[in-house]
Structure formats: C-alpha cells, structure tokens
C-alpha cells in the first residue's frame, strides 16, 4: 500500500526499484485474465468452425431446391428444411405471444398491485417454477396438457399449440422476474409525480411506469425467447414430432409439428458420421445458430436504442 503510494508520488528515479516487482505480479494476473477471456472466444470460434465444417457440405451436396422443399424425409434423401423452420417458428411465436403479455401482467401485479404478503408468497414460488427441469414440464405437458388440448377440439393433443404452452410456461419465470426488476427500478418519484396531479394508479402504471421500464422489459422478453428457441426435449415430447408443414385450413397451431432442435436430437443417434443425413443435421444447426444470432443482435439493437434514447433524455 505504502509502496504503491510512494511509487505514484515520488519522481521516477527514486521509484525505480519498486515498480518492476509490482509489475511482474500484475503481469501474471493480467495474462491469466486475458487467457481466460480469450479462451472463451476461442472455444466459441472452434464450435462455429466445427459446425461449418460438418454442415456446409450439405449445402453443396443437397440441391437448393431439395433444401427449400416441403418434405424432410432423409430415407428418401428429401431434406426440405421448411417444415422444421415452420415448426420452430410456430412453437416459438406461439410461446412468445402467450408468455410476454402474461409475464408482463404478472410482473405488474407482483410489483405494483399485490399486497405485501402475496408478493412474499409468490416470488419464491416463481423461483421454484424456474428451477423445474424442463423434461419434467415436458412430461406434464404430455400426460396432462395434451389430453386437454385434444378435448378442446384439436385432432390430436400433441400440437404446436401444446408445445407453445409448455415453452411459454418455461420462459415465464425469466420474463416475470426480469420485468419486475425493471419495474422496480423505475424511480418512485415518477409514480409520485403522476399520482400527485391526479392520475389514477392504473394510469400511472400504464402511462408512466411501464414505458419507463421499457428497455428492461425488452431484455426480459428476449431472454425469455432465448430460452424458448433453444429448448428441445420438452417440446419434442408434446408437439407430435411430425415433420409436415401444417395446413392453414385446419388451424396451423393445432396440428403436430417438429422443430429444428427436436429433429437434431431425434435423429443424431441413428446417422453415420459423415453421411449426407449427418451433414444435413449440422446444416440445421447452422440455420439455428444464424437465427439465434439474428435475434440476439435485434435485441441488443432494441436495447441499445432504448438506452441511447434514455441517456440523451437525461
């Protein structure tokens, strides 16, 4: 302590001996931190390269027409990605449409309306919900939810809608707790200012508090979607696992589908390494990777935009 202070305040000539010893210690620490940081980037790079090496040949060996086809049927060398894309899209969009409003409303209730005792009861419960292994939820969806969906009039219980419900349920804890933090972070003064000139509590929440928490709510939504897109097993269990493009006529959401992740998980075990089928599965991986990347970039653009706006306001 004393030494560093002296080193800082004394002229260079006098401080000459101390810095080298101090610096060698710091040099090592710096190198270790740098190594750890770089290794993460390095590993991500490796993963991406591996993905490209295994998957890219598929784009050469399989004709574009085949890849863009509507049938995924590897035994007959039909590798149409569309049904899988549509499957993933339906399940994810469905989950977002269900989970975001529900999560936001729950967060508003918890943070702004619920009396203290309910808050103290519900918050730990939501954390428990977040801790349930997704496979358990998948199982629940299969035995409990699917029959209900079928009773409600769908041709089968295992549908895109069932998958969306399960996914929504999985992403709810994330959306709720992060939105609630964002709402909580809104300065109390905003609420006071709004109420003090005669706005109602509800007007205050809707017109002042929620807009002020906007960027946090966007983050919550994106992290929620992130969880939804990557989820595999639970969705595979409840979506019927049929690689068809659902027909518009009978309600897209209420037919069996198969997602990209589920396809990889289901077929990886049975393919020979290096075969065309194997490469096609990796090609799906590349598409997934790009999609996730696009969504994350979109999210950080949205959040960045919000932040910029805010800092320019303040």
């Amino acid at each position: 302590m004393l030494k560093t202070e002296q080193a800082a305040s004394l002229p260079a000539a006098q401080a000459e001996t101390t810095p080298s010893r101090r610096h060698s210690g710091e040099w090592w620490i710096e190198q270790i931190i740098r190594g750890a940081g770089l290794s993460t980037i390095f590993i991500i790079g490796l993963i991406f390269l591996f993905l490209l090496r295994e998957g890219l040949p598929a784009f050469v060996r399989i004709s574009p027409l085949n890849l863009l086809g509507v049938r995924w049927y590897p035994i007959e060398e039909l590798y149409g990605l569309l049904p899988l894309l549509v499957g993933s899209l339906l399940v994810t969009v469905g989950a977002v449409v269900i989970a975001v409003p529900l999560g936001l409303i729950t967060a508003i209730y918890l943070g702004e309306i619920a009396p203290l005792w309910q808050r103290e009861l519900l918050k730990p419960l939501i954390e428990v919900l977040a801790g349930i292994p997704s496979i358990v939820l998948g199982f629940l969806g299969w035995v409990a939810l699917a029959p209900l969906v079928q009773q409600a009039g769908a041709p089968t219980g295992l549908t895109a809608f069932t998958g969306a419900l399960i996914l929504a349920y999985m992403s709810l804890p994330t959306i709720i707790s992060i939105s609630e933090d964002a709402l909580y972070a809104v300065p109390k003064e905003y609420r006071d200012a709004s109420l003090a000139i005669g706005a109602t509590e509800w007007q205050t929440i809707w017109r002042v508090v929620v807009p002020a928490a906007r960027s946090g709510i966007v983050i919550a939504t994106v992290l929620g979607i992130g969880r939804a897109i990557g989820e595999t097993m639970a969705v595979m269990m409840v979506t019927g696992n049929a690689a068809n493009i659902p027909s518009l006529a009978t309600g897209m959401f209420f037919q069996p589908v198969r997602t990209m992740t589920a396809t990889i998980a289901a077929e990886m075990g049975e393919v020979a390494q290096g075969s065309l089928h194997y490469q096609a599965l990796f090609a799906i991986g590349i598409v997934l990777f790009l999609l996730t990347f696009a969504i994350n970039s979109l999210a950080s653009m949205l959040i960045g935009g919000g932040k910029q706006q805010r800092s320019s306001q303040l």
Partner: protein
C-alpha cells in the same frame, strides 16, 4: 392559531397524527387552519414531518402501506378521509410539486398534457389553452414556447422545477402543495419562482415547505413551525419571523439550531 373570523378555512387539520409502519412518528397531534388565497409556509428542522404533512393533505400518504393515521383533515368542509371522497379528484384539487423536479419521460408538451389527458380532457384546444396559461403562470412560457415538443429532460434544473409547477397549475387546482420547490435552484431562478408564487395566490392557496428561513420570511402570509412532528407555533409571517412566541421557534428562526 386564530385567523380572520370572516374567512372560513379551505383546509382544517384537526389532531392529525401520522406514524410510519416502522413506528416512526412523523406527525403528532397537529391542529391548524389554512385560509384560502394565502401562502402558508410549513417550516422546521429536517425530519420534522413537513413533507409528511403535505403528503397527507392530498393523500399521497395512502401509498405508505401499513402506516397509521389519527385525526381528521377537512378540505372545503369535507373530511378528505371519508370513504365517499374520490382520491383522484382530491389530488386534482390539491396538486403537489416535489423538491426534486420530476419531469416524466417525454416532451415538455406531453408532461403538461399528461394530467389533463388522464383527467379525461381530450379537446386539443382546451389542453393547449390550459398549458399556455400554466406555463405563463410558472414564468416558463418565454423560455419553452418554441420547443414544446423537445424532451423535458433537456431543460435546466430551474426550468424543470417550473415545468413541474406548470404541470400542477395546468390541472387548475384549488391548492398547490410545494415541497421545497427551489431546492437546488440558483438565486435568480429562486427569485423567479418566488415572484410567481406571490402572484399565484390570488387564484390559488399555496402551502409550501420553504428552502430556508429567509425564504419563509419572504413569502409567508402565515407560517407554522414543526419540530419532531409537533406543531410548535403558527401565526402570521410577520409575527412568526419577527416576534415568535415560543422559545424553540425563536431559536430556530435566529439559527441557534437546526
């Protein structure tokens, strides 16, 4: 605590006590009448309950879950805590401005229109007229008339404070509650705000927590001295600052403590 017997008080506070959920007693048995069209100053040392008193008057104190209140407050003869009272309407009649200026996210115009819109006023002309008038009354019109659509956060501290004052005035309330409205303002802005207050009292009743004893003496028609949640003394501005009856008021006014 006597005043001109010919005017009936706009606000009558009777035996008001207020205890926060952590058992902090913020107000102890406060009784005082407030006459209309005056500047009524509530002053006293830090933590003496001034803000709490103002917040009780427009029932912002309702937000403190689990706090205890005894006593009654009458506004134009009606008990503000009776179940028949519409809190939102009450807060439109007794509008509050805080020590820290709190512009809401959005443009200057949006800030001013917010309360009106929330009160269900839709007519663009009415909104514009009331905003213009409020800005003039708050001595802000000349500075912002050309940039009503720009962000309220871009204003200076003093302008923000006057914006918040204008936001309350646009509601055309009966009473304006001002909790230290010139904290953090430079002397020039402070003088501007004080001048507009004195002009405003022909139309409004102003209840204000001052920034300093000097300010209290400058603007008060009547004043009340609070200490530890108790009302020590109330009287005309002249009497309170030139010739206080209670020893504690005198000590505080001449700056012996606080």
């Amino acid at each position: 605590m006597h005043m001109d017997p010919n005017v009936s008080p706009i606000i009558a506070i009777e035996h008001l006590s207020f205890t926060f959920p952590d058992n902090t007693v913020a107000l102890k048995d406060v009784t005082v009448d407030i006459a209309p069209n005056q500047v009524f100053v509530v002053f006293g040392p830090s933590r003496s309950g001034k803000s709490t008193l103002l917040r009780v008057l427009n029932r912002l104190s309702d937000l403190s879950e689990g706090a205890q209140r005894q006593g009654r407050v009458f506004f134009n003869g009606r008990d503000i805590f009776s179940p028949a009272v519409d809190v939102t309407e009450l807060r439109r009649r007794l509008s509050m401005v805080f020590a820290i200026p709190t512009p809401l996210p959005g443009s200057i115009f949006d800030n001013l229109a917010y309360g009106l819109r929330m009160a269900g006023i839709r007519d663009a002309q009415t909104i514009e007229r009331r905003i213009t008038r409020a800005l003039e009354q708050a001595a802000l019109w000349d500075e912002v008339k050309d940039r009503l659509q720009s962000s309220a956060f871009a204003l200076s501290g003093g302008q923000k404070q006057r914006l918040c004052l204008a936001r309350s005035l646009a509601m055309e309330p009966d009473v304006i509650l001002l909790d230290n409205p010139t904290s953090g303002l430079d002397p020039l802005s402070t003088a501007t705000v004080e001048d507009s207050l004195i002009e405003l009292k022909s139309r409004y009743t102003i209840i204000m927590v001052p920034h300093s004893v000097q300010q209290a003496a400058r603007v008060a028609d009547r004043a009340a001295f609070l200490m530890g949640g108790e009302l020590i003394e109330a009287g005309t501005g002249r009497q309170m600052f030139a010739n206080p009856k209670d020893r504690r008021t005198e000590d505080y006014v001449v700056g012996r403590f606080g």
